[in-house]
Amino acid sequence: MRRGKLWAWIVFALGTLYFLLPLIATVQFSLSIRRDAITLDAYTNVIQSPVFQQTFGYSIIIAVAAIVVGLLLVVPAAYFVRLRAPQLRPIIEFVTLLPLIIPPIILVFGYIRMYNSSSVLPLTNTSVGTNVLLTLAYVALALPYMYRAVDTGLRTIDVQTLTEAANILGANTLTILLRVIFPNIIVAVLSGAFLTLAIVIGEFTIASLLNRPAFGVYMQNVGANRAFEPAALAVISFVITWGAMGMIQLLARFAPRTAALTD
């Protein structure tokens, strides 16, 4: 009975309509910048704008920084929890739930109050400090996804055996992490990395409240002041997000699937 039930097809069709129409409309709108002509002018305007290049570059750099910091925090923690300190697991999992509970606007409000000029750690006093604050905010936002990705990756490789083998060969913990564990979970790490990228590129609230020249802020500004370029930006943003997610799906096919699952 592979033909499928009628109601299912109807629901699917309606769903497709609802989800595809805005995408089609956005593309169509972005091509209409000139009357009576289909041109890519909106796209060229956007891509050639120096502000676009600056803010896009800035966001990419912050994204990479957030990924690196996030990995430095998450990989050792996930490794040690899995290997030696399973009793800390509930604490860690609670922590990874926090960013999902605390809305980003609350987070940045707390940062501004806590790390302004009158605090022990006056991060907002300098551009560099504010950039650091922004990166850490994004690490916090991406933490749940990064942790889940790394944890899943660790689950599918036999951490105990690898560690024992490396220990026997005389490796210290740092070497184990860098040269044994990390290469084996690279697929999971990349998944987390792409998700972080997708989050950072489009993020608006935190960047605008910290007054940083990020891509999300630029998009909102263009949205208020130009008529057709925002649609072009939306399409570009969607392509990037889809690209990142697509990479994750692709990588999932290459994830190691060893027989020695530990739980």
């Binding site: 109601w7 299912a8 972005s30 925090l73 609350i106 806590m114 939306a234």
Partner: protein, 312 residues
């Protein structure tokens, strides 16, 4: 989970450290852990404390501090102004409406692709698309909907041209409660699909067959077996969707500038320019938001853990 394997490993890998003979007593759980293990987890926990827990607590406590620095409940009371109450009310309504619609339509679509006997390629495509769409919130989504249902949007123009039906003359406006709800559904529905799919998968074929053997119609199956099993999951996800919508600001901001009177935008304006002229009040607003989203999320988590019992 895997406590057995782990404790075996602990014993093998750390024979020397057991020299700290704390095999009994309150620290028995930490037996065998070297300080090196803490070092691995420490940065993570330090980060969590400094950049997740403390800022939020700082805000929460700040809500109780008045202008003079003393403890006060005045800020909470001040939340009672018409403008602020109105914004909470609108936020609650938009979040509830988009959560409800997201729940219903997400469930329908998930049921369609999983149990509707559609080609299997459809399921994987929809799941992948849902993964992307649930992250498509924010500013680009606002632009997309403006291009679709704005005054000059594709759908608006299409309806006007081919059906002579001007939705704006009929009273629809994208920049309104229903417009915003419709826009929010774009990421609520995929989120629902992603979360409810495993639960629907858990409705085992054997239950269908058992029910059929007993003479139940499909409707009776759903009424007595399917829905009751799914029900906790539905409620829990409803709660999650609600929290998701309540905290969202970027989409609404991009649609209306700062004109839509919802709580996150009010808070945004307050942080930006202290428009309420009262830092304690801003913190109180934040507290209100945290309480609502925290409650909704806790409801989701509690229900989820209980519901998972059925789907083991």
């Amino acid at each position: 989970m895997s406590n057995n394997t782990d404790s075996v490993v602990t014993n093998i890998a750390a024979p020397a450290s057991a020299g700290v003979a704390l095999s009994r007593g309150p620290f028995a759980a930490f037996r065998g852990m070297r300080w090196g293990d803490y070092l691995g987890v420490a940065p993570f926990l330090l980060f969590a404390v400094l950049f997740l827990i403390v800022p939020t607590l700082y805000l929460v406590l700040g809500a109780f501090i008045g202008r003079d620095g003393a403890f006060t409940l005045q800020n909470i009371v001040d939340l009672g102004t018409p403008q602020i109450l109105n914004s909470f009310w609108i936020s609650l309504r938009v979040s509830a409406a988009s959560a409800l619609l997201g729940c219903i339509f997400g469930l329908l679509i998930a049921l369609a692709i999983i149990r509707g006997k559609l080609p299997s390629a459809i399921r994987s495509t929809v799941m992948t698309f849902s993964g992307v769409a649930s992250n498509f919130a924010g500013i680009p989504l606002a632009f997309a909907f403006l291009s679709t249902l704005g005054r000059l949007g594709l759908v608006t123009a299409f309806l006007k041209l081919y059906f002579g039906f001007d939705i704006y003359r009929a009273g629809f406006n994208l920049l309104s409660f229903w417009g915003l709800t419709l826009t929010y559904c774009y990421f609520q529905i995929p989120l629902m699909i992603l979360i409810i799919a495993p639960a629907i998968d858990g409705l085992r074929k054997e239950w269908n067959e058992a029910a059929a053997t007993l003479g139940a119609s499909p409707f009776q199956f759903w009424r007595y077996i399917g829905m009751p099993v799914l029900w906790p999951n539905l409620l829990g996800t409803l709660s999650l969707l609600f929290a998701n919508a309540f905290g969202a600001i970027a989409t609404a901001y991009a649609l209306t500038g700062s004109s839509l009177n919802i709580v996150p935008i009010l808070l945004y304006a307050q942080i930006r320019g202290d428009v309420l002229n009262n830092p304690g009040l801003g913190a109180a607003l934040a507290l209100g938001m945290i309480v609502i989203t925290a409650v909704a999320n806790v409801v989701y988590l509690v229900i989820r853990t209980r519901a998972e019992r059925w789907l083991k």
